[in-house]
Amino acid sequence: MNLRYMMKELYYRKRRTVTSIFGLAIGIALLIVINSLSLAYRQASRVPLKEIGADITVQRSGDVPREMAGAVFPCSAVTIRKEEVKKIQKLPGVKGMGTALLLWVFDPNRAWIVLGIEGDNSIGPIILRSSVTEGRFLEDGKPEALVEQAYARQFGIRLNDTISVAGNKFPVVGFVDASRAAKIAVANVYLPLKEAEDLAASSKELQSVSSYASGDVNLLFIKADEEKITGLVAEMRGILGSKATVATPDSFLKLLGSLFALSDKFTLAASLIAIIIAVLIAFKTMAGNIAERASEIGILKAVGWTNRNVVSQLMSESVIQCFIAGILGLTIAVVASFGLSFMKVNIPIPWEMSPVPHFLPGGGDQIFKTLRLPVHVPWNLAFFAILLSIIVGAMTGGLLGRHIAKIKPLEALRYE
């Protein structure tokens, strides 16, 4: 391979070189952008669960309360027994678990959505700690409440006021900003889990629909090995039965509904098409280039170049063109990804995951998690694209070079 000869060929055959480089670069850019978008949707689909510090949430649907009085379970989240919780906790792939108890409390003058949260667990609604805007977070063992800021404003609840929930008094120790909090299991009032358990255990209405014992919960937040999530979902359904509602990043991905979010198969198919287009463009332009140079190859062979010399020269030209195309494609993809990263996506949060009574203001509204699509080109994808472009160059240059190098010098000189 002679570098000087190679560079001169690429320089003096500008039109063909530029066509070849741009054609392949567009294919490579498409490949990168498609995969980056797909990855971005995947990352976006993890956000709602990530916000609550989990990879999976588990609930069980049940019957609608007969009467909206006192503490009841929303029909989308009824009792998960402590034995069931323990079984799930022991499943291989479960790295950690948080629990919570979501209640609707209908007092004579007011309806509350109450979430009982663990104070000593880093998984689950404890993440609210960072959303406290005034006052402090709940302290272990104390019967106290956090109130959602907008709700407090609406009903004139102030810090250190005492609120009465299902006949139980709780001092308000802080306010939380729901707009900064997770969109899953959103409540008006946050209590220590023990207090919420007591509310549930003492509610006849609740017990009549879904029997409940202290220690049971109705929301599970699970941290899991990413590659075991699919298997875990099946096992959890096996433990909780057909009414289990298990939310995973994949279920949010489906809710997003984008082509990129729909399936890996689409991304794979689109990537393959991009690769095939790139290879065909590279092959066609290189084939044209090499055919155009048949007489030149005849000269090389006449003056003593072996087949191997010819092939390695053509291959190196092809590899360098494709490498430049790879770099250009990557640059185009990075710029395009930057542009696409300003795009916003609305991830719908199913009502079941953050139930609000329909008859309350905003109860029927769809909740969305809105975020900027986190499009970026990961290093491994960039590396793969460059490697792929080099392989395409080596293959096209090698194959075409071997083909043309078989021509006898005199035959090639006759092209003149």
Partner: protein, 222 residues
């Protein structure tokens, strides 16, 4: 083959389909000899040159170049043999359009393990001899026909060949330039003691040769 003979073709024939272009030709070229193959267009002289230089394999007969029978050699063996022993000058110059004059001269040296400076030095020396020292960086498109052919002659000499095969080297040149090129070939033959086998259809040009071989209808007639 005589002691001084460097090239010998024996009973050479070449057939393309039903057409026999060269018919049982035998000839020898001695070291330092200038031999001219003359004949009308279509007489088979270029094909015979291709057979003798190893660019083409004969249908029948054998070629011995520098003591080695080249008929059975593979494409790559022939290429290496050409690189080490043979120089070519073509009618249409056959320069690489993207390479400068000196790079075209150095073309046979590209696959060899030597530095770019060495190649350039060797090519520049030869271009100086061809009085093209001031044109070494020019592309073929910037050179006249005569200059192109002088670059081609320099390229033929770059590997210190034992024999140069020249196929109508003045065919694309005007008479004045053609004479100049013939002058260079003569000088090479005399000063460098390089054997030359030249094909031409112009008897006038063949006068410079030590020996004249006439061809007609694929056969040597005298």
């Amino acid at each position: 083959m005589s002691k001084a003979a460097i090239l010998s073709g024996t009973d050479l024939s070449k057939r393309y389909g039903d057409l026999e272009v060269v018919r049982g030709v035998s000839l020898t070229v001695n070291a330092g000899e200038f031999v001219c193959l003359v004949g009308k267009s279509g007489s088979g002289k270029t094909t015979l040159l291709s057979l003798l230089s190893g660019l083409e394999k004969p249908t029948k007969g054998r070629v011995i170049l520098k003591g080695r029978e080249i008929n059975g050699a593979s494409e790559d063996e022939l290429a290496l043999f050409r690189r080490d022993n043979v120089g070519f000058i073509f009618q249409s110059f056959n320069l690489i359009p993207t390479l400068s004059a000196w790079e075209n001269v150095a073309l046979p040296l590209f696959p060899l393990k030597m530095t770019s400076e060495e190649r350039r030095r060797r090519a520049t020396e030869l271009l100086d001899k061809m009085e093209l020292g001031h044109r070494i960086e020019h592309l073929p498109s910037a050179l006249s026909g005569g200059e192109k052919q002088r670059v081609a002659i320099a390229r033929a000499l770059v590997n210190n060949p034992t024999i140069i095969f020249a196929d109508e080297p003045t065919g694309n040149l005007d008479s004045g330039t053609g004479e100049a090129i013939m002058g260079i070939l003569n000088r090479l033959h005399i000063e460098e003691k390089v054997a030359i086998l030249m094909v031409t259809h112009e008897l006038e040009l063949a006068k410079a040769a030590n020996r004249l071989i006439r061809m007609k209808d694929g056969e040597v007639v005298s």
